[in-house]
Amino acid sequence: MNVQDQVIAILADQAVLEPADVSMTSRLEDLGIDSMGIVESIFAIEETFDISVPFNANQPDASDFDISSVASIVAGIERLKAEQG
């Protein structure tokens, strides 16, 4: 699986949806992923890609990792993999 498919699998699992129901443009709030779900998703992303995601649940918007949509998460992971790999 490529990064995009892995992220979709993680978010679909968290949202209790089929991967087919999650697209690159899906936004986490539209998927019904709440704040605890976001933290669990970040954890799953860190475990899956062996990266450390700079994310503070107190200030999601100020974090240097845009979790608003599938596309932004994929881009963030690609960047972190390059930086931390």
Binding site: I42, F43, S52
Partner: protein, 402 residues
Amino acid sequence: MKRVVITGAGTINALGLNVPDTLAAMREGVCGIGPLKFRDVERLSIQIGGQVHDFPPEGQYNRQQLSLYDRFTQFTLAAAAEAIAQSGLVFSGELSAKSGVVLGTAGGGVSTWDDNYRAVYEEGKNRVHPFVVPKLMNNAAASHVSMEYNLKGPSFTVSTACASSNHAMAQAFAMVRSGMAPAMVTGGSESMLCFGGVKAWEGLRVMSRDACRPFSANRNGMVQGEGAGIFVFEDYDHARARGAEILCEVVGFAMTSDAGDIVTPSKSGAARAMAGALADARINADQVGYINAHGTGTAANDKTECAAVADVFGPHADRLMISSTKSMHGHLIGGTGAVELLACIMALRDGVIAPTIGYQEPDPECALDVVPNEARDAKVTVALSNAFAFGGMNAVIAVRAV
């Protein structure tokens, strides 16, 4: 002052996954203690315990719940479901706003601590699951019960080692008796049967390697158990008005502190707690037919407890029955008083006194009727449940047949 009655009971422990199975096992003198089964058990010198088997969490809870429910919370929710169903109460409106949940636990999410310390120390992992803190916190079980049943009144967790659930039930009793709450969900839960939990206890050198034999001259220590006991305490008038089945009445309690030693029990602390419970309940010592002993099977507890009973009850000490059901289900630490209250209810309602099993040799320092090895039929109208904790904190509850 309100009268307080018990209208629901639930449990899960090594003797059974519910109250009827547990009471049947107590009547039969079944021993729920056996070989422990969990990771790294072979590295322990103590390898027996009253472990709950046949309770696979995967079948009962979904993945999201499992990420938040430590085993002590799982036990609590299972026992609470049984107790609240039996009570028939549905918490809404003012009943919901005023009723709460007070539970006891000594260790809280011990296996969650254990699993995650293992991950970061032994396995060298650098991150743990996001919900480790809300999963292991001591009030997690009480919080999940409050959320599951819409209990919005006074709710908290009490932690006084082996007396935790008796202290919790004493608080719930006081709240219903004072009129603060029409009903309270109360009791306790414990799950320390994991590698780190038992390893810590090994250090004290008070654990038996073969059996829990309270009051028997050849006793050689305590054996740990796990599980939960949960009850619904309710205002008597409230229960009567809705035609609820009443299991028994809670008539009094007392709490004392030895202010002495951090582990060695005190005769006077125990005696003051028993005498205090009788005074609070306004009952005479000679009305007590049965005591569920703290009865850990250690040299220190059993002789101290028997001496305290002799002090409080005088000549009547030779006529009452006192048994330790820890011989069957093990010592549930912070949940033990809750499971043991079931033996008191069985004595009051069914006229069956649970035995002290594993009893082999009389001990002159424990020369009371400990109901050795076989349950006994007897009519009892008042019973006490003793809990004497490390730290010298004691709590005794008095219950009466209705």
